[in-house]
Amino acid sequence: MASESSSAVLELNDADNEDTEATTVTDDTHEGVPLMMEHGYDIAVKVDAPMKQLSTLETYVTYRVRCVCARWPTPPHVRRRYNHFKLLHKRLSAAHPLLAAPPLPPLHSARQQLDRYSPAFVAVRTCALNAFLDRVAKHPILTHSEDFRIFVTTADEELDKVFKSENSALNLWGLSSALYSSGETKAANGPRVKDPEFTSASDYLQSLQHKLTALCSLTTKLHNSTISLGSEFMGMKRACDAWAASTRGRVSLGPGGAALGAGAAARARSAPRAPLAPRAVLPLLAHYAAAHRDKIKQRDAIHAAYVSGTNATDDVHNRLEQASEALRSELADWIPKTQADIKSLLLDLAERQVNIHKQTLHGWEQSLKLATEANIEDIFKTVSKTAVQNLSPSRCRSEMSPTETERDLDEFSDYNDTEEFDGHDDFQRENIDKVVSNVNKNNEGVLKDVVYNLNDDSKSERDRDDLKSTSIAKETKFETNDDNSKFNSVASKSDLNNDNLNANIKDNHLEVSRSNNKTEEDVLSEILEEKLPSGSENKGTSDKIIDPLSDFAEVDLS
């Protein structure tokens, strides 16, 4: 293997690698994330920074291997290529026939040969190699293996001398079976012996293998679906933007708001890179489980031989004992580690999803804010569904005594004409009251149905039934002329005033709506107030003017 005569650096460093210096030739000198030993271990390894190397004979990718160990002095880093890893694996398997060496990522399939240097492929492989070496390092027995030490400590130039690749058929066979974890080792000729202890372990490993593979494919599907959903959201954003652009004033708030929300939803889902770790690690773990199963089968073979055979019983018995013991300790070590790996992978996935939904939620909340902003005028004219929906549980109910709702509208209009609207608390209070009295007059019989319920399921069930029985038509219909005429008489008075109202008063109408809520018999949905664990209800009694979406904003997601 030629040493690197020239190195061309591909954009092989994905952002997923911790050290993201990416494309400088001086990769090797960059330290990257400092390597720290984990608790309980005296060694830590890391494989990263893939680099394409050109030599006279061939082009290949090398990976930087760093190791920090208490047992031997180690060079800051070395570069290894896949074949080296392969060799190491072979050597380890040969040296410890009773143990299953951690599996390597698979070789290229024929198709992938074309894609050998694609960043995604290389990144996945780097991750897998890292997992491999990490397992070796943390393995109680393998970590002390000489081969491993050589692998990690030898300088690049001298590696060939020590790490000669042997191509004997036997080794290849052992290699392939370890790598691909294919079928059974030949069954022993003797009767099958079922040892309950190891049978159950084998069964467990088999199901685990299946679960891991299924999990891997599900995760990939999930990721792909999420990406495509994100692009659809982009489409909606464009449509809404075009719509909002073609209208003016208040009318554009609706589609404008929708555009905002859709955009946020799209961005949340537009993660450019597929989550690496699951794709790399889950198949490996599955292979690893299979490798263990093979070892169990081997042991069973010995057992069968022992039971059936008659020659050299002692020797066979010893071997049997050794194998059993090795397996037991191996599994005892392996299972917790694997579980920890799985747990961290799943947590990663959950974390990512949580972030996606958090971002999406935030986006839609912003859009709701935008869309309902400065829509006070409609409140005056009709009590639209919007008003109903904007109800937060009326914290301000305590602030609003019934008598305040009695104030005259005319007073309100006079007041408006003379005041500046910049959100004095008192002024807004008065506004609230006027609006409340306004709306209260017009409320009878208008709000028949609950439109949307954002509370927990029990409520939503009931409300959905209401919804069905009364039909959407009622909600959308041009409400009876009676009501409208009332509204309009009110509206005409307050029309002038409405023009003056600006977004400063947005909070008002929500206050209104809140008190509306409580004056109504119907259970109006507390859309913006979900019973979240953070108990956000307690906040804000001191706030007079409360941001409509503060309930959301304070969701504590710890």
């Binding site: 199901s207 599900l218 449509a239 959407i472 038509a473 219909k477």
Partner: protein, 419 residues
């Protein structure tokens, strides 16, 4: 505008409606009667072919105003099918060209994101709601609600189909279609109507795009959420074989299942919102129809004016004695008698033409006045309704995002609590 009591006579022209406010103060059917569509039923034409099955909807009328004489009985119910609704809708379109006729719910499934056809129970339910909405809109429109045929539609048990076809609306509709198929090019298009027409087109496009993208989103989102059910299954199966992780996995599995289930209600609610937007999509079409009607009248006026101009020039030629065949061929002048005769005849025709023009003008003015009021009212209503629908849509998204977030937080917690 004070409210007027309903007369006994069925049809009544509404009082002059000058402004949009007047509009809203008019008496309508809805102020006296409650209309609702309570249920639907499948009927068959005797054969058992699937194609011959159709759905009927039960219209329920309740008179709330004790003194109202217009509606015959206190409470009446009647079954109607979609094609009958179509008939009354077309009739109204032809009879009231200056009104924006409320649209019917879709005939075929538009913007479908999962396989469904018009026999789907969910679709039938949505259509029921849409038809009820249609009736309410018509009944609350002061110009439309007291129409004979419409009242008959609501009440006449037997023979309504004959009644309505007798009114000859089909012929009128066909005539209209013929005239509309010729694209109308006006010399001096009314700018206001033009802008309204363009607005209608724009609204149609915007709504169409929105509905399309929404359907794509719900499609993908639906399959994505159903994917979570696989996770749920995987996790529950997995929890069986694990000792320590079992609990956490199982709990997480439940939450995955809940995610998969939650999308169903979201999809349903969103579908209803989409229906509201579809209504306005069709409304935009009706708005454009109104503009086209206006253009037709304007074209008629222009034609009348053209005719007059032609006649005048003809008369002047006749007066000059140049109208006879001989004079045209050989340039000779007509004899006096001919000249006088033709001139007088043409004069009479000119008078008739002028009358026509006057009539056409008044027609147009009348139409324009009414139409503008109609449009103004429509715009207000539309702004309110669309805004509401969009806000509901956004709210629904907030709700769904919250649910998802909750579930995933719980999942994360379960996973964290695993040993």
């Amino acid at each position: 505008m004070s409210e007027q009591h309903s007369p006994v006579k069925a049809s009544r022209s509404p009082s002059v409606i000058e402004t949009a406010e007047d509009f809203e103060n008019q008496d309508t059917l809805l102020k006296h009667v409650d209309i609702s569509i309570v249920e639907s039923e499948k009927r068959a034409n005797g054969t058992l072919h699937v194609r011959d099955h159709y759905t009927v909807y039960l219209i329920d009328l309740k008179v709330t105003d004790v003194d109202y004489k217009l509606v015959q009985s206190k409470i009446s119910t009647i079954w109607r099918r979609y094609t009958e609704f179509e008939q009354i809708h077309d009739y109204l379109q032809v009879t009231y060209p200056h009104v924006i006729i409320p649209p019917l719910p879709e005939k075929r499934v538009l913007y479908a994101w999962r396989k469904s056809d018009t026999t789907d129970p969910e679709f039938v339910e949505r259509r029921r709601a849409g038809l009820e909405n249609f009736l309410l809109r018509v009944a609350s429109h002061p110009r439309l609600c007291f129409d004979d045929q419409f009242i008959n539609f609501l009440q006449q048990e037997h023979g309504w189909r004959e009644t309505i076809t007798d009114s000859g609306y089909i012929l009128q509709a066909e005539n209209k279609l013929k005239s509309l198929s010729v694209s109308i090019r006006l010399r001096k298009p009314d700018p206001e109507i033009e802008s309204v027409k363009n607005y209608g087109k724009q609204l149609e496009t915007n709504l169409g795009n929105f509905l399309y993208t929404r359907s794509k989103i719900i499609e993908k989102n639906y399959s994505l959420c159903k994917l979570h059910a696989n996770y749920g299954k995987l996790f529950s199966e997995w929890s069986v074989i694990e000792k320590d992780m079992g609990d956490g996995l199982q709990k997480a599995g439940h939450y995955f299942d809940s995610i998969a289930d939650s999308i169903d209600s979201v999809a349903e609610d969103e579908e209803q919102l989409a229906d509201q937007l579809k209504e306005y999509l069709f409304y935009a079409g009706a708005l454009q129809q109104l503009c086209t009607n206006h253009e037709t009248l304007q074209r008629a006026l222009e034609n009348a004016q053209d005719t007059l101009n032609n006649r005048i020039s003809e008369r002047s030629r006749a007066a000059a004695g140049k109208s006879g065949l001989m004079s045209r061929l050989f340039g000779t002048t007509d004899p006096d008698i001919v000249r006088d005769q033709s001139t007088r005849a043409l004069d009479a025709k000119i008078l008739a033409d002028k009358d026509n023009i006057e009539k056409a003008k008044t027609d147009l003015e009348d139409f324009t006045k009414k139409a503008l009021v109609e449009i103004e009212h429509f715009q207000k209503q539309k702004d309110k309704d669309l805004h509401e629908s969009l806000v509901s849509f956004i709210t629904l998204q907030v709700k769904a995002a919250k649910k998802n977030l909750q579930a995933w937080i719980q999942i994360k917690e379960c996973l964290q609590n695993m040993p």
